[in-house]
Each structure stands twice: as structure tokens, then as C-alpha cells.
Assembly symmetry: C2
């Protein structure tokens, strides 16, 4: 056989074989058979329980098998996927917006809570109470179109730095949770955010940062109004609360926006308790997990007494009902993506 | 070379090649090159425009290419995906529920609109106005848990027959639209329902009937309340309107529940006009389509003067802005799945 004759056939075979082998390798990798899907998790009971849940619920014919379309996993955001200390990121955004908009509002110099924000007097801001905070939210989150607000959020997040970690807020996300999100998705779970935070504040960046597209983000929201500006339709953000996606609001938000009960739920505070209860109450295998912030070296240690991200009743219930309580200190090899590659701390 | 020596290698090559060729064929089929993805559509301009849109927006590197995660397609339900004549299916459900619940409500015998429903006096029902209809909705759609309501809807749909076609309502869906949904999904589009109908009324069956999962159904809704019944959390349906997903409410619903602008939108009435306007106003290629009910032989002919599914202003705008107006009579080879296989009528 001359070389010229067989070359095209063999090349075709080779290409096809490479494709086939790559396909197999990818599939094998996806099921977690080769590569550790959770490298930033220490080899503790928490990690074992997560892996064991995924294995038994995705094994066709197994007693705990969950069909792929029912594999809904809901994640709280603040304190579960990214840092919520010293203040919620969205609150930091509102403060920055008050400062940026102040030149157009000379009256803010003498009106609380704006005066407090401008003078750095957070006691005065807090003293303005819920009414004051709602006014601040209205002034910074409403009176513009959804497109304009999205641009503002993206702009701020692209430059604002976390006061403690001195890096972008979107880099103050938890590496072990990024791996958990990817691991669940690789096994056919649909990952959702169900957060007390504003839905319009999260959607502009969750796809890039968490791999969670806008349509899988559930959150609190203000009312919207459709109107024509000349020939162009816009959606105007109104200064009126529409839905609060926190505590008992979380199961409501899940039903409103997703319409089926999750099989896995992840939180870190009392605001997530009802979401975990609602998830737990369905028939079949369940994965329920609370992140406990007990690492004051790499992050912040806080729980029962913290005004931000209080973990008290939900902790008691987690212990009583054998939900997984993750110790950031003991269960996580690394906390933030920036630490990746460094040795365990 | 002896036969035994070369066989294993050639067999491997053959297997790999078959796999590769099958892969190509599948991909080719998906893009519509081999099998007609829309066999119930006549070879008209409407069909050509749909296929041409899908081809140019899914061609990598093409000027109109749309990344897969942005391929959001929203469909109205009543009159677009299934029949809405002589009355909305959900209204037929409410009437059936009033009759079923009447023994527990002796007072309904002398109270409108219930008396009218029980006596078959639809004039009296209509005369009770919006207030009466809301009362009827509250009595039949609230005061129970979401789980209980889902069971009731499924139960009714499994036996109730359409008064004209004498088959299940879920069989009064439009075969050409089922094909369009499947064709779009095969090309990476995510298909959503955005309907004025109740979201809790649609979600129990849309996955089975349309291939649209509950989390991709946007609709009108009543308020929900989370509460514990002993150890079991439930979501109670309250007799209070939460959101009306119709007319200007449709773009609002799209933003609230999906969080990104569709690239394709499908409707049949003035209630869909703002959804199509909102979709059209985004940058890039768009597919906008109105189903015109002009077939009084196979379905019902109605448009500008019809109290159900009025198509008036949206029709004018469709003509003016060159949206596709589908003639059921001329563009559809068959209307309902039951006709499939029969010759064109």
C-alpha cells in the first residue's frame, strides 16, 4: 500500500477517534470519577455528605434517583456565596450612589439619612430607621429605567473595592461555593439564587461570577412600570417595594418564580430558615446546608448576635434536623478565589 | 497483512467514524437541513421567515448570530398555543369548581355571580362585573395550599372536555406551534410562556404538553402565604391579586421573572402588543409573530370585535412594523394534533 493512499482514511479515523476519546473523557470527568470536583473543601464529613448526595440522586435506577428536571438547587447569596461583612454589598452600593448623586440634591446636606451618609455618620443613618433606609433605597434604586440601573450597577462593581480585602466585591465570593455550584451543574442540577438582595442588583453579574443566568436569580424587587418614550418602550423602576424575598418570603419567592420545590438549599442565616424548611418538606432525598462563619482569620466570625446575617434559630434547627453545618474554618481549604494555589491556611 | 491483525484497529476506526457521522447528521437535522422541522406549516412566507430567522441567528460568526444564553423566546398561551374560544379554559375551570363546591356553599344559590353559574345564566355572571369575577376567582383559586390547587387542576384537566372539539383541553393545542416550540429549542432557544392566565393554573401541565417546565412559565398570580401546619410548611393561596401579566404587565413580567429581553415573541391579541414592542426594541435580530384566527372551519374566526382575544391595535402595529401575521387558514396545514396524518383540509 502506498503512503498516499491510506493517509486520508487514517487521518479521518484519527480525527474521529480523538473526538470520541475526548467525549468519553469529558463525560467521565463530569461525573467526578477522575478529578476532585471540590478541591477547596477539606476531606471532612460535610464534603462527604455533599458528594454522597449527588452520587445517590443521580444514579439511574437507584432508590434516591431524582429526574434531571427536578434537580433544583437554591442558594442564598449574601453570606452564602459572597461576603456580607462589614455591610451588605448592596448597602455599600447605595451609600456610593448617595455620594455620587449628592451634587444634584443639595437638600440632602440637611436631610437624614442622606446627611449621615455624606458625613460618614452611620449612627444617624441607622437612627433614621426603616423609613430612612427605604427612602435611601428609593433615591438610589428607583426613578430610572432598568437598563440605566443595570449600567450603574456594572459600573460601580467594576471599580469599587471591598474595604477589608481591597479587591473587587465580585472577587469576595467563596471559592468552595463556586466549586459546589459547578459540581451540581455538572451533575444536572439547575442552580438558582434565592436572596433577600435586590434582583436587579444581582442579575447584571451573576452569570459571569457564579455561572447563574439572570433568569435563575430570585430576589427582592421594586415595582416596575412600562411606558413609551417616543417610540421606545422602557421599564421604569418605581420607588415602591414589590416583593421582599427573605425569611417566609423565600418559599413564596421559590413558588412564584421557580414553581417547583427545590431538592437542595443552601444558606447561612435565619433569613434562610424557611427556604430550608420548605425544601426539606418535599418527598425524597434532600441536601440542606448552612454555612457557619466561624473563621475570624480568613473572614469574619459571627452568628447568633450579629446584626448582619444572624444565625441563631436556623442553627438550632440545623443541628436538631441534621442539616449540614459547614465550618468555614474547618471545612474550607481556601475561602476566596485569590487564595487558590496558596497552601492551606 | 493478515486479516486478524488489522481487524481491531479498523473496527475501532469504524465505530468512531459511525459516531462522528451520526453526530454530524444529528447536527444537520437540527438546523433543518434534512428533516422539515415544521411539517404542519404550509410553504408560505411565514414559515420561510421563521426558518430564515433561526438560521441566521444560530450561524456562528454570522452578522445576526445570537449567543445561546440570549436566545429567549416568549409565547402567549391562550389563543397562541391553545384554543381560547368560546371562553378561556381557566374560566371553564372556575365554572366547574363553583359547581363542584356548591354543596358546601348553600348561600351561592342566591348570590351572584355564583347563582348565575349554577343556573347557567351567563348574562347574570357577566352583569356581576369585575368584582363578581374576582369573587369567583377567589372562591375557586384561593383558600387552599399550592399543592392542593395543583392536584385540583390536574384532576379537572384529565377529564374535562372542550365543549366544541369534545376532547381534553390539553389536546386543543396548536400542532404548528408545538413544532415551532420544538424547532426553537432544538436550536438553543429557551422557550417561555408569558400569559395573562394564572401561573398556578398553567404550571402543572405545561411541561408535559408543551415541553415548557414550570420555571419557564410566567403568568398572573395571587398572593401566597407561608405557614406551618404542625411540622409541615405549606404555601396558602390568598384571595388577593398579586400580579396581572397582561398588556403592559407582560414586559414587566418578563423583566421580573426572566430578567432579560426576549429575542422572539409570539402572541395573538392586543394583550400581547407590549410584549412584542418590548422584544422588538432590543438591538439585533428579532422574530415577532402574531397568530390571526381567521379559520372558521377548523377553529374560530375572530379578531377586532371579539370580546375574547381581541386583535385590533396589535394587528395594525404588526402590519405597520412588518411583524409576521400568521393566517391559521392559509399558513397552517393542520391546526390540532388530532388532525395530524390526515390530509390537509
Amino acid at each position: 500500500m502506498r503512503r498516499n493512499e491510506r493517509t486520508p482514511v487514517l487521518r479521518l479515523c484519527a480525527i474521529a477517534l480523538v473526538a470520541a476519546v475526548c467525549g468519553c473523557a469529558a463525560a467521565f470527568g463530569q461525573s467526578g470519577g477522575v478529578k476532585d470536583p471540590l478541591p477547596s473543601w477539606n476531606e471532612s464529613a460535610a464534603k462527604r455528605q455533599i458528594e454522597e448526595f449527588v452520587q445517590r440522586t443521580t444514579k439511574p435506577g437507584g432508590p434516591d434517583f431524582i429526574p434531571e428536571d427536578e434537580r433544583i438547587a437554591t442558594f442564598d447569596n449574601d453570606g452564602t456565596l459572597w461576603s456580607e461583612q462589614p455591610i451588605y454589598v448592596q448597602f455599600a452600593f447605595a451609600i456610593a450612589r448617595v455620594k455620587a448623586l449628592a451634587p444634584q440634591h443639595p437638600e440632602w446636606k440637611t436631610t437624614q439619612p442622606f446627611q449621615g451618609v455624606l458625613e460618614g455618620d452611620m449612627k444617624a443613618v441607622a437612627a433614621s430607621g426603616e423609613h430612612g433606609l427605604l427612602e435611601m433605597l428609593a433615591a438610589t434604586h428607583a426613578g430610572m429605567t432598568t437598563d440605566e440601573f443595570e449600567k450603574t450597577v456594572k459600573g460601580w462593581l467594576s471599580t469599587a473595592l471591598h474595604p477589608k480585602y481591597k479587591r473587587l466585591y465580585t472577587e469576595c465570593v467563596y471559592q468552595p461555593m463556586l466549586e459546589l455550584l459547578a459540581y451540581l451543574r455538572a451533575n444536572g442540577f439547575k442552580t438558582y439564587i434565592v436572596s433577600g438582595g435586590g434582583v436587579e442588583f444581582m442579575r447584571p453579574w451573576t452569570e459571569q461570577v457564579y455561572g447563574i443566568p439572570p433568569e435563575q436569580v430570585v430576589g427582592s424587587s421594586g415595582k416596575l412600570k412600562f411606558e413609551m418614550r417616543g417610540d421606545t418602550p422602557v421599564l421604569l423602576k418605581l420607588p415602591e417595594v414589590d416583593f421582599v424575598d427573605d425569611k417566609a418570603g423565600k418559599p413564596v419567592g421559590i413558588q412564584k418564580f421557580i414553581g417547583r420545590r427545590p431538592v437542595a438549599a443552601f444558606g447561612n442565616s435565619d433569613g434562610d430558615q424557611q427556604m430550608l424548611e420548605w425544601t426539606a418538606a418535599g418527598a425524597g432525598a434532600r441536601l440542606l446546608l448552612i454555612v457557619h462563619h466561624d473563621d475570624d482569620v480568613r473572614e469574619v466570625a459571627y452568628d447568633r448576635k450579629s446584626p448582619v446575617g444572624t444565625l441563631d434559630k436556623a442553627w438550632d434547627e440545623a443541628v436538631q434536623r441534621h442539616w449540614i453545618v459547614v465550618s468555614m474554618k474547618d471545612d474550607w481549604k481556601t475561602v476566596f478565589p485569590a487564595e487558590k494555589g496558596k497552601s492551606a491556611q
